[in-house]
């Protein structure tokens, strides 16, 4: 079956217009587990693979040694030279059937239960706290990059390859989304790990709403939509040295977050606001978020075994 498809694959990939590529996945007949191949085509020069790529792969493998329950497993990395200009790096990952996007799409009518949201959020923050404590920012956290196993286990994907993915040249016509980008990135200011917390806040809201919180069509539109919810930040919080000035935006006041996420409880709303804080320095960290009273509520006692183990593992590390 596969011999003709490899011939087919290359042109499809190169045209990239409209047609979808294919993904190879396999079942390990011994363990019954699934793996999938992610190909990254790396353009090279006479020096071979760029050092940055080698570093990124090394970092991924180092992180892998921790076997963190909320990160997607990386089983192997195989490089093959295609031509003088290109090397194909194949990452062998565990295969998870669905991402958070499809998980939310498939959730039946009233949406996820508050307990389910809390469990997912705890696992998400746990994975993130681990990455951040290892000096790794995700930078592109969105429902498509959060895998959810059939047992409801959250596994972050697509981290640590900042440079590889930064160009977002997916070969399928995927539009780069701005919806989860924090203000400091939209304003092209300086940024660090708090970017991921902003994205997490957007995703937190989306878990209740089952639709994105801020759907901007351009950077400016995205910022405008953000300010309609959190209000235009005071002058002193506006980052210095950015080209977009505060005067470009209408002086809107913040509105109650429950207007946009009516299903959220009181503590959840407080946590959400601490994540959707304009100033990255004032935004809550992943570790502090895990310690937020939202997670201390009684309904937490119904934690699944896997996630409580995950939290334990997280705090131990």
């Amino acid at each position: 079956m596969a011999h003709c498809t490899s011939l087919q694959y290359e042109p499809v990939a190169e045209i990239g217009g409209g047609a979808y590529g294919t993904v190879y996945k396999a079942r390990d007949t011994e363990s019954g587990k699934f793996v999938a191949l992610k190909n990254v085509r790396v353009q090279t020069d006479q020096n071979g693979l760029p050092v940055s790529t080698v570093r990124e792969v090394a970092l991924l493998r180092r992180l892998e040694q921790f076997d963190h329950p909320n990160l997607v497993r990386l089983m192997d990395v195989c490089a093959t030279q295609r031509s003088d200009q290109e090397t194909k790096v194949t990452l062998v990952f565990e295969h998870v059937d669905q991402d958070l996007k499809t998980y939310l799409d498939r959730a039946p009518a009233p949406g996820l239960s508050p307990d389910r949201v809390k469990d997912l959020m705890r696992q998400l923050l746990c994975g993130l706290a681990f990455l951040h404590s290892n000096h790794v920012m995700h930078r592109d956290l969105k429902p498509e990059n959060i895998l959810v196993t059939s047992q409801g286990q959250v596994k972050l994907a697509d981290f640590g390859l900042a440079k590889i993915y930064s160009c977002h040249m997916a070969l399928t016509p995927v539009v780069v989304t701005l919806w989860y980008r924090p203000p400091e990135v939209l304003l092209q200011s300086t940024y660090a790990t708090p970017v991921d917390i902003w994205s997490t806040g957007c995703i937190f809201a989306e878990m209740f709403r089952r639709k994105p919180l801020f759907c901007g069509e351009s950077e400016m539109d995205q910022l405008g939509k953000i300010f309609e919810v959190i209000g235009l930040p005071p002058e002193e919080e506006w980052p210095a040295g950015v080209t977009v000035t505060r005067k470009n935006f209408a002086p809107v006041k913040s509105r109650p977050i429950t207007d946009f996420v009516p299903e959220i409880n009181e503590q959840g709303a407080k946590l959400l606001l601490q994540m959707l804080t304009f100033d990255p320095l004032k935004r809550i960290s992943a570790l502090n978020a895990l310690d937020h009273p939202y997670f201390h509520d009684e309904e937490t006692s119904t934690l699944t075994n896997s996630s409580s183990q995950a939290v334990e593992k997280c705090s131990r590390k």
């Binding site: 990939a13 979808y20 590529g21 993904v23 396999a26 192997d76 895998l147 440079k163 399928t172 131990r316």
Partner: protein, 202 residues
């Protein structure tokens, strides 16, 4: 850019090192290991590469060069990309030169940090804004650095004998002996994680 700061003699040395052993430029150069057979080395490297590719192929019963599955323990199937999470789809990484020129990818300096979190200079001549960024980044990261146990645990890959000295010293400290390493580290949260106990003892 940093090359600008090199003195001319340093530059010469650099050039010499790069072109060595074809063009010996300075008297400091010494051929310590005898003549290098470049053809032989090239053959060795290629053979090693083939070996690695062959091992990958056997391990996964998949031919990564032709992107075709083979018979073996793994039952491969080809699925349409839109039937799996988007994450698994193929991506292209552009050449590093176009990467750094790309304003859309502020990843360059982030990656430097990512690859070598301890070194603060991301490379290149820093403009005031960049310096500011580095400072801020450190400040931002210090919050997430707080879980020192994480960093400490990483060390267990590579345990130093002095790790054990630290424990002994801690026990002798006025600190409560029942302290777990976790609470111990948290109580010292203002200390950057990089400053490991190993260094402090010296």
């Amino acid at each position: 850019m940093s090359h600008v700061q090199l003195s001319s003699s340093a530059l010469e040395r650099l050039v010499a090192r790069r072109t060595f052993p074809l063009h010996r430029r300075t008297s400091v150069c010494r051929n310590l290991f005898g003549p290098v057979d470049h053809d032989e080395r090239s053959r060795d490297v290629k053979a090693k590469l083939r070996e690695i590719i062959e091992r990958d192929r056997q391990r996964w019963n998949f031919n990564f060069e032709t992107n075709t599955p083979m018979d073996g323990d793994y039952e491969w199937e080809e699925v349409p990309a839109d039937k799996t999470p988007a994450f698994y789809q193929e991506t292209v990484k552009r050449s590093p030169s176009s990467d750094s020129a790309d304003p859309e990818s502020p990843a360059a300096e982030a990656l430097e940090r990512l690859a070598a979190p301890e070194s603060s200079s991301g490379g290149g001549a820093p403009s005031p804004a960049e310096v500011n960024q580095e400072n801020r980044v450190d400040k931002l990261n210090s919050r997430t650095l707080r879980p020192a146990p994480c960093v400490k645990r990483r060390r267990t890959d590579n345990t130093y004998i002095t790790d054990f000295y630290v424990k002994r010293k801690r026990a002798g400290d006025s600190r409560k002996p029942t302290d777990t390493s976790v609470s111990c580290h948290l109580s010292k949260s203002p200390i950057p994680a990089e400053r490991t106990p190993r260094k402090r003892i010296r």
